[in-house]
């Protein structure tokens, strides 16, 4: 093997290792980015704050916004049922661990936040069926994660009925009802991710 092909082989090997390391570095960057919509310190939670960020070219704030927007776009670039399946898989895997590391907690939070983008009656049926299959501890974690997804349901009466018939503890039942009763806030940045930036 001459020197040129040897260098070529080593470069390809190095490239492969880099790609593998990048893939292993974060299991699900979509959801860890979406977690910023709940816990990001620099994320502009409302449209007014986003406008201010733009006016002042606040790079930290805009970077956070772009991460959430890119993650949302990436998730919804798939067929809807596939995207929702991906959300369910992440909730099932990462919200069910008792003493989870930060990366796992971020994935869980982001997957719960992602439910906001699936507000329709068909989505709701799938979500309720999924919730029904979840272990109680995982469902408790989902509800404790808060977020704005319950307030964004199109068919709230169906959810209230589900809550009434669910095996949730009385405190979790009350918590979910409180979250369901919250009115959707049209000013939330999550409703303005399509604005140009």
């Amino acid at each position: 093997m001459d020197h040129v092909s040897l260098i070529g082989t080593r470069c390809r090997a190095l490239l492969l290792i880099t790609v593998l390391l990048a893939a292993c570095g974060e299991r699900e960057p979509v959801f860890s980015s979406l977690a910023l919509a709940i816990g990001g310190l620099d994320f502009p939670h409302t449209r007014q704050t986003l406008d201010l960020c733009r006016q002042r070219n606040d790079e930290a704030c805009l970077k956070s916004y772009r991460r959430v927007k890119t993650a949302r776009d990436s998730l919804l670039s798939r067929p809807r049922n596939e995207a929702l399946k991906r959300v369910f898989e992440t909730i099932g895997a990462d919200c069910g661990q008792e003493s989870a590391d930060l990366a796992t907690e971020m994935n869980c939070t982001g997957a719960v936040a992602a439910l906001y983008f699936f507000p329709g009656p068909e989505d709701d049926r799938a979500i309720r069926e999924f919730f029904h299959r979840l272990p109680p501890s995982t469902l408790k974690k989902v509800i404790a994660s808060g977020g704005d997804w319950p307030g964004n349901r199109e068919n709230k009466p169906a959810w209230r009925q589900w809550v009434a018939e669910s095996p949730l503890s009385s405190e979790d039942r009350q918590a979910l009802l409180v979250l369901l009763d919250r009115q959707p806030n049209p000013e939330l940045t999550l409703n303005h991710l399509d604005a140009s930036d």
């Binding site: 816990g39 990001g40 310190l41 939670h45």
Partner: protein, 259 residues
């Protein structure tokens, strides 16, 4: 005889890291203004009030572990980059050691004791509600907060994700949406006739203050936009007023009261 309880919940700093020099340069960020307000008699404490500091301890433990030792890796980094960051952190920890406190939590306990303030160490977010629930009925005159926050809630602890973005998690936050859920468990403890305001010093606490006001019918206040704790009060000025009014890159904090 004190019969009312004035609670100040104090969140913790994140680590001071190279990739985010903007946040939490000093571990004292959320203690110092509250300490100074006590020194300057800005609490407006009435004779029947006992002041309680509810301190979320885990971030102070983490910060102490990070600040108090310069690791071999950090020494190497300093050799090559001449970074002062580790030195700044270590100096802060050494200063605390000089007070004979074992660590940052120990120092906060010392400060509370010297001011006659009752110290409560919190280890989980639920401890906040549990501790409030232990007070006699009608005895909580007001609740203040000092720390990181967003419209989603009070961030008791902050970390940096794999992109060095500062963030918290629902398990480390008193969420705004937690208030109506927990309302029933502490409503009887709140003095609903109080005229004292519950003030939430943190960025974007407007929604939290509004929710607290709606839940308990007491006066509250919070900031619509960002605030800064990096204020220096001069004789005759109030550190709390400075926090409420000092503009940040987002402009005026728009400190808002709910009567």
């Amino acid at each position: 005889m004190p019969s009312k309880n004035f609670v100040i919940l104090i969140g913790g700093p994140g680590l001071f890291v190279d990739c985010d020099p903007k946040h939490d340069k000093t571990w004292l960020n959320y203690i110092a203004p509250i300490q100074q307000a006590a020194d300057d008699d800005l609490y407006g404490k009435t004779p029947d009030e006992t002041v309680h500091w509810f301190v979320f301890e885990p971030p102070y433990d983490n910060r102490w572990a990070d600040d108090s030792v310069i690791t071999a890796g950090e020494s190497v980094e300093k050799f090559f980059s001449d970074a002062e960051l580790h030195g700044v952190r270590k100096a802060a920890a050494d200063k605390v050691s000089g007070t004979h406190a074992a660590n940052y939590v120990g120092r906060i306990k010392q400060l509370a004791a010297t001011k006659g303030i009752m110290y409560h160490g919190l280890r989980t977010k639920d401890d906040f509600w549990t501790e409030l629930g232990k007070f006699p009925d009608g005895s909580i005159s007001r609740v203040w907060y000092s720390g990181h926050a967003s419209p989603e809630g009070l961030m008791l602890s902050l970390f940096h994700d794999s992109n060095c973005e500062p963030a918290s998690l629902p398990s480390l936050m008193i969420l705004t949406s937690d208030i109506p859920v927990k309302k029933a468990s502490i409503q009887a403890k709140i003095d609903s006739s109080t005229s004292k305001s519950s003030n939430f010093y943190g960025c974007g606490t407007h929604d939290f203050a509004k929710e607290w006001h709606q839940a308990f019918g007491v006066p509250t206040a919070g900031a619509k936009k960002s605030i800064t704790f990096n204020v220096r009060a001069h004789p005759g000025s109030s550190v709390l007023t400075l926090i409420e009014t000092t503009a940040t890159p987002q402009g005026s904090p728009e400190w808002t009261t709910f009567p």
